[in-house]
């Protein structure tokens, strides 16, 4: 056993000696706790400084709160492309000023030229780009998927957040209803579906019925005395288009939704249609291609000039669809002249009355003139009736100068013709929202357009209109908000085996856009 180390002071029994037993310099003794703490502090200091130095060398990884979206990935390492030094990029800060907002927006607008929301917006309430389109949320983040609150910040009390304007006299102003979310209670009904602005007299009920007959809506039975329209009454080309495989020419025609409403991504060769920029810019198949007379009506609806000729006259004898009043007059006069001369060329020289004096040149051809006048008058009346079946007509005064007949004739003096009023059928019904038919292709057409189906239209027609009746241009055949919220709502639990309701997205931007929305529609106004 080694001896103990000597004690600094000899101890004894006196107080002084006993006090000497205490090591009064104990605080000079190294405390391993204090030593370890000192070294750890130094280590922590070095670690902190080292970490920051590493951050200065590898800035994006250390200073960026997250990866930018893939559309901005090329500028991931170039923060100053979007961030102005010491200038807030968002609006919800204490230090945001018009100058900082302008500076940050300018960086965005260097690449993104976008339209404002609406002319009625209040300028200082409009946020900066980054206030809505927050980045640094990961590569796959959708910068256009802004939160509902960016919309409801104003639309919850929209009357306070837009410039008031005088609504048009012929229609109510757009809704001031507060919108806080999409459901039946917090979102108004779709304004553009309130009323059908179209002036085309068309019956989905009749055209969807077997044989294209009139009849009761809820029953598939047709009247016994109904005249059925058969495939054989169509031209060969149209039969090939409409007749189902294995069908007979004597079979009654059965149209389907797709007979007229095509969702092709592009037009076929030779198919000329006027398509709105909105539809053309939408996703392929999002909206149906426009229905045109030549493509969808002419197969059955030829436009003869009289009721005595063939139902499907040749092209030269059929009234061109879409012709204006002056053109129609010239067409009918020319047709009458051609037919009269073809029937008997001698009418050119046949005087109307016996001539006591040598015949004048004016007298010659009077018979032809009368014949033509008579034919034109009859054709005009017939064509007018034909047009009225589908269109609303307006009076169209015409000067005699454009007539093929002498100005002194009654036909030339007949000043009042008619023109077809614009149909005003909306090319896109939901004018303030997007809809994609392609995304809803798993649903049957009848689920949203029940009124267009005579077998399921019971109870859908407004009061006063016949069910599946001949005219449905005064009723909207598009299901509204109530059908949307069945799926576009929070997921609702369902018992096992039953389909789950809800679950589809129902945020604002699911249907609505922001930039370039223009002024809100007034009811009754075409988009």
């Amino acid at each position: 056993m080694p001896p103990l180390p000597p004690i600094a002071r000899p101890e004894g029994s006196t107080s002084r000696e006993q006090v000497a037993r205490i090591d009064r310099a104990y605080f000079h003794t190294p405390n391993h706790f204090a030593v370890a703490r000192r070294w750890l502090i130094l280590l922590a200091l070095l670690l902190g400084v080292g970490w920051c130095a590493w951050g200065a060398w590898d800035q994006p990884r250390h200073h960026s709160p997250g990866a930018v979206a893939h559309v901005h990935a090329p500028w991931e390492h170039d923060c100053e492309t979007c961030h102005q030094p010491l200038s807030p990029i968002r609006d919800n800060t204490w230090l945001t000023t018009p100058l900082t907002r302008q500076a940050s927006d300018a960086a965005c607008e260097a690449c993104h030229r976008v339209a404002s929301h609406t002319s009625r917006q209040i300028a200082h309430e409009v946020g900066s780009c980054a206030s809505c389109h927050a980045d640094h949320l990961g590569r796959s983040a959708d910068l256009t998927r802004v939160s509902d609150q960016t919309c409801t910040a104003c639309h919850a009390q929209i009357a306070r957040h837009r410039v008031s304007v005088q609504p048009p006299a012929d229609g109510p102003a757009s809704s001031d209803a507060p919108i806080t979310r999409f459901d039946n209670e917090h979102h108004p009904a779709f304004a553009s579906l309130m009323k059908d602005p179209g002036r085309l007299k068309f019956s989905h009920g009749r055209h969807m019925r077997l044989g294209l007959t009139f009849g009761p809506t809820a029953s598939s039975a047709r009247p016994a005395d109904a005249t059925l329209w058969t495939y054989g009454q169509m031209s060969a080309g149209d039969q090939a288009r409409y007749r189902p495989e294995g069908g007979s020419p004597s079979d009654p025609v059965q149209l389907a939704c797709s007979s007229c409403h095509a969702f092709a991504p592009s037009l076929a060769d030779g198919d000329l249609r006027v398509i709105s920029a909105f539809v053309a810019g939408a996703a392929p198949g999002a909206y149906p291609l426009p229905v045109t007379f030549e493509n969808h009506c002419a197969a059955c609806h030829a436009l003869p000039t009289s009721g005595t000729g063939p139902n499907a006259p040749d092209a030269s004898a059929a009234v061109p669809h879409g012709i204006d009043p002056a053109g129609l007059r010239q067409f009918l006069e020319g047709l009458a002249l051609r037919e009269a001369l073809a029937a008997d060329g001698a009418v050119l020289r046949e005087p109307l009355l016996p001539r006591p004096l040598p015949a004048s040149a004016a007298a010659e051809g009077k018979a032809l003139q009368d014949l033509v006048e008579q034919r034109v008058a009859g054709s005009r009346t017939f064509v007018r009736g034909t047009c009225q079946k589908c269109h609303q007509l307006e009076e169209a005064p015409l000067a005699a100068a454009g007539s093929l007949l002498p100005a002194s004739t009654a036909a030339a003096r007949e000043a009042v013709w008619f023109r077809v009023a614009p149909t005003q059928v909306p090319g896109v019904w939901l004018g303030k929202a997007r809809f994609n038919h392609q995304a809803h292709r798993s649903f049957s057409c009848q689920q949203c357009h029940a009124a267009a189906d005579p077998a399921s239209a019971t109870g859908t027609a407004p009061a006063g209109l016949p069910e599946g009746g001949p005219l449905d241009h005064q009723m909207v055949m598009i299901a509204g908000r109530e059908s949307c919220v069945v799926c576009h709502a929070p997921t609702q639990p369902a018992p096992h085996g039953e389909p789950i309701r809800g679950g589809a997205r129902f945020d604002c931007v699911e249907c609505h856009g922001y930039h370039g929305s223009g002024s809100h529609l007034f009811l009754g106004q075409a988009p």
Binding site: L4, I7, R37, W51, G55, D148
Partner: protein, 325 residues
């Protein structure tokens, strides 16, 4: 040391708690409102987020000032207890403020993550230290009546061992087979008394005392005591609990050992054995004190260095955040 749970300072703590809770609830209300109106979790640059961040940063700065305040005790800037109380409650208030500033932890960037992680570790270590201080001092007071200055434990143990060596050398007969057991200090003085360190507890007052023991002549039959001292007691008194000496570290085992020693020793040596048992008990208390001391102060090895890292990271975070606002 601030005892909160059941402490006499509870009324003062309650004021801090109420003020801190009110501040946190107010901040949370503003934060929730901004969250609701903005539709997204407000970040550090948002109005509420920035206010929370500035408040949290100032609190962190104040927390760091406790260190210089402790080193410069001459500053008349409030009592140490007030500083410690503010350190604790403001530090806890900083947690919700910093969390709100940090977008409820939905943050990115390694600098921010390192800063937030460090902050949470500092808070966690501080809370752990606060928790330990709620009962360890009481345990120390109750179970270590012979408490001494931590740095002096080994010195006192050596002193006590020397005293007992002298006592054993004077009162016990020599061991002819182990002449080196007789230390020079025990032989040379020929004193008629010895001084040993004792412990007394009287009417609630407790502490160490120096006791003078008269020494006459070696007591016959005390060779087992001498052997026990040099083979078992002395190593334990010098080094404390170690592998192979667990017996004396246990109160019950030590009692059994000394009972056996009394049985084989003459009655005149009872007082000597009492001194030896008491020395073992004090060594046991010293070991316990060292263990408690490590728990009481060990958390500071995490808390203080991480606070330094936190200060560095915070000092960089502020200009970076303002630059890329």
């Amino acid at each position: 040391m601030l005892v909160i749970i059941g402490g006499k300072t509870w009324p003062q703590d309650l004021r801090w708690i109420l003020a801190g809770t009110a501040s946190a609830v107010t901040a949370a209300g503003c934060y929730g409102w901004e969250w609701w109106t903005e539709g997204a979790i407000p970040g550090g640059s948002s109005r509420t987020g920035l206010v929370c961040g500035v408040a949290g940063g100032l609190i962190i700065l104040f927390e760091l000032l406790l260190w210089p305040r402790k080193r410069v005790r001459s500053w008349r800037l409030g009592s140490a207890q007030t500083w410690l109380r503010a350190h604790i409650w403001l530090g806890l208030l900083a947690v919700p403020l910093v969390l709100m500033h940090a977008r409820l932890l939905f943050i990115g960037g390694w600098l921010n993550l390192a800063l937030m992680t460090t902050f949470l570790l500092v808070i966690a270590s501080g809370v752990w230290g606060l928790f330990l201080q709620q009962f360890l001092p009481t345990m120390l007071l109750e179970q270590v009546p012979a408490e001494t200055i931590y740095e002096q434990i080994d010195h006192v143990a050596r002193q006590r061992c020397r005293d007992l060596e002298k006592l054993v050398g004077a009162l016990c007969v020599g061991d002819p087979h182990a002449p080196h057991d007789r230390t020079p200090e025990a032989d040379d003085d020929g004193a008629e008394h010895a001084v040993v360190t004792g412990f007394r507890s009287l009417t609630g007052i407790q502490g160490k005392v120096l006791e003078t023991v008269p020494v006459y002549s070696p007591i016959p039959g005390t060779l087992p005591i001498r052997r026990c001292f040099f083979t078992e007691l002395r190593p334990y008194l010098l080094d404390g609990k170690a592998p192979g000496r667990e017996g004396l570290a246990s109160t019950a085992a030590a009692a059994r050992r000394f009972a056996a020693l009394r049985a084989e020793s003459p009655p005149e040596a009872a007082s000597l054995i009492d001194h030896l048992a008491q020395a073992c008990d004090q060594r046991r208390q010293g070991d316990l004190q060292m263990r408690i001391h490590r728990w009481l102060h060990g958390w500071l090895l995490v808390h203080v260095p991480l606070s330094v890292s936190l200060a560095v990271l915070l000092a960089v975070h502020i200009p970076v955040a303002l630059w890329y606002w």
